[in-house]
């Protein structure tokens, strides 16, 4: 060990109580940072997964420009070849084709305009949680001319399970299209407004009703590894382009649900501002300790300078002391925080009681989750290094600039 490091190590060992208090502050900061980041990223992951599973999927394959102009003109030809391409894409876990249209639903004197969603009963459950959100009756199973209504929509229409409603719309061919559908089940949507204007039918029925002939509006997909979303997106976009005569888009959830991506970004900014404040507070604690120890050692430092120690070496000495303090704090902090966070990652905390019902209504899984990534200790480490560098700047400069004569006389 070089002399200077040995000196620094002994220096921080001189006042054990002060050193351990400072280290404790650093440990506390590290534990806080690790858990805060783990909780935030756990929460964001939960939000993303819940929203993705609600309807949108991680990726959406659509006709080019569909997100900006959601009309029947923009479509994907859902051919067996295209389905095989999507299904054999290594990064894609599940895919569900859908037809998105508008229709007027009528039952006796009541009528209501709705978003009419055509889904493939065999595939939809692989991507979204629609099949799990049936509150009465059953999900579609491929039987022709059966319909699922939002619970509030059924109420507005006065429709009951087993009853018939008339679906009335304009087909792709600009012909009037209408058909009677039997109500198979009632479905609950997270948003009451959506629930009042949402109905699901089978993909085959939707294609027949809209005269859509093998076309779909979108193919929603889940990916195997959300961390590799962009790579999967790019690979899929390249592969499907081969099979399509029309230009297609493959959009990530961030483009499909920009408001969610923005919400998460805003939350990140808030959290990192909190971390920045924490860094400043801890940095001042360490600054205080080091400055005290430098002031106490004025005479000693003066002697060292008088004996020919270079000011630069003094500067380094103080810096190494600061780095050692933070380093010890970081090591203890990580040892304390990481295993705890790893345990929590495997044991999410369920939320119960009234809050549980509330979160479930919004389609959010009622659990508090931790998520540990390699980023977490990396961020904690770089924060502590930043703290050490920041905190030592003034005391080190002060120690290095001391004039031996003044320093010797000062005490």
């Amino acid at each position: 060990m070089p002399l200077i490091v040995r000196l620094a190590w002994r220096n921080i060992g001189r006042n054990k109580r002060r050193t351990s208090l400072t280290v404790a502050a650093a440990v506390f900061a590290v534990v806080l940072v690790v858990h805060m980041i783990a909780l935030t990223s756990g929460m964001h992951d939960r939000m993303i997964e819940d929203n993705v599973r609600m309807h949108a999927g991680h990726l959406q394959l659509t006709g080019a420009g569909y997100l900006e102009d959601r009309t029947l003109e923009r479509f994907v030809r859902w051919t067996p070849a295209l389905a095989a391409t999507v299904d054999s894409e290594p990064g894609v876990a599940a895919a569900a084709p859908r037809v998105n249209g508008f229709a007027l639903l009528s039952n006796g004197p009541a009528s209501q305009g709705v978003a009419l969603l055509g889904v493939d009963p065999a595939r939809e459950g692989g991507v979204s949680t629609w099949p799990a959100r049936i509150v009465q009756g059953e999900f579609l199973d491929g039987e022709a001319r059966e319909i699922l209504l939002g619970e509030r929509l059924a109420e507005a229409l006065g429709a009951r399970i087993g009853g018939e409603v008339l679906v009335y719309t304009v087909a792709y061919t600009l012909e009037n299209a209408y058909e009677l559908f039997r109500v198979r089940g009632l479905i609950r949507a997270p948003d009451p407004r959506l629930e009042r204007s949402l109905a699901l039918i089978s993909l085959a029925d939707a294609q027949a009703l809209f005269a859509y002939d093998g076309r779909v509006s979108e193919v929603a997909m889940l990916v195997r590894d959300p961390a590799r979303l962009e790579a999967t997106r790019a690979a899929l976009a390249a592969d499907v382009a081969v099979h399509s005569t029309e230009p297609l888009d493959v959009n990530p959830w961030q483009r499909v649900m920009p408001e969610l991506a923005q919400l998460i970004r805003i939350d990140d900014v808030q959290n990192y501002s909190m971390l920045a404040i924490l860094v400043v507070v801890v940095a001042f604690g360490i600054l205080n300790t080091i400055l005290m120890s430098v002031l106490e050692r004025q005479r000693e430092l003066g002697v060292m300078l008088a004996l020919g120690f270079a000011p630069r070496a003094i500067f380094r000495l103080v810096y190494i002391e600061s780095l050692l303090l933070s380093g010890i704090g970081l090591a203890f902090g990580l040892v304390l925080a990481l295993p705890a966070a790893a345990v929590m990652e495997r044991h999410p905390v369920p939320i119960t009681g009234d809050i549980q019902k509330m979160t479930e209504t919004f389609g959010v899984t009622p659990v508090i989750t931790w998520e540990l990534t390699a980023w977490n200790p990396a961020i904690a480490t770089s924060l502590m290094i930043a703290i050490a560098l920041l905190a030592a700047l003034y005391p080190a400069a002060k120690a290095a600039s001391a004039r031996p004569v003044d320093a010797l006389r000062s005490l």
């Binding site: 007027l104 008339l166 304009v170 061919t173 600009l174 012909e175 209408y178």
Partner: protein
């Protein structure tokens, strides 16, 4: 009615007959062709609109939220069926001036602005009226943000019992490239006496 759209290899043609009682604010339309749509019928009483679909024999009330939806797949909207007779009640009218030569004729330019609380879907309508023939030449429809969304032009003016009536109506939506709907009037008669039973829900379901 001829509907042109980039979706269609050939324009779609419909033939229909309509009864319009302006003073009673009621009208009735029955589709005659193509065979697939024969028997489809529409009844308007005041602001209410009903549609009858023959194959499943149901009458549907078209709610106000669907007024801007396409009528029979055309570029005319459900609102266009309802709107005409209520224009005088629902809009304030402002004289914008005289166009000395609009498509070669002297035309008055009039602006319709919706009255407070009127159940209308447009923010503004500007109308050109042939000064000599007192017949409409052109209507431009603006949304509430002031953007021009569609233009209706009239042509083929014929004298029908002392009235100049356009026998060709062409609707051009400006936000949908390649779409256009034209209505050609084969025959029109004015001042006919109507039986009240024309404007009933029972008449909707009647097979001719």
């Amino acid at each position: 009615m001829i509907v042109k759209s980039p979706r269609l290899p050939q324009p779609r043609r419909l033939r229909f007959q309509s009864w319009d009682d302006r003073s009673g604010k009621r009208s009735f339309i029955r589709v005659l062709e193509p065979p697939k749509d024969r028997g489809s019928a529409f009844l308007k009483l005041q602001q209410n609109l009903w549609s009858y679909v023959p194959r499943v024999e149901r009458t549907i009330r078209v709610p106000p939220s669907m007024m801007l939806q396409s009528w029979m797949g055309s570029d005319f909207t459900n609102d266009d069926l309802v709107r005409e007779s209520s224009t005088l009640d629902d809009y304030e009218h402002r004289w914008l001036g005289v166009a000395p030569s609009h498509q070669g004729v002297r035309a008055f330019v009039i602006e319709h602005l919706p009255r407070e609380g009127a159940p209308v879907v447009w923010g503004r309508i500007v109308v050109w009226v042939d000064a000599a023939k007192s017949a409409p030449l052109r209507q431009e429809f603006y949304d509430e943000a002031g953007e021009k969304l569609r233009v209706l032009t009239m042509g083929d003016f014929r004298d029908v019992g002392g009235r100049w009536y356009p026998h060709h109506w062409a609707m051009l939506p400006l936000d949908k490239a390649g779409h256009e709907t034209a209505i050609d009037v084969n025959e029109i008669r004015f001042d006919e006496k109507f039986a009240d039973e024309i404007f009933t829900q029972r008449n909707l379901t009647r097979k001719e």
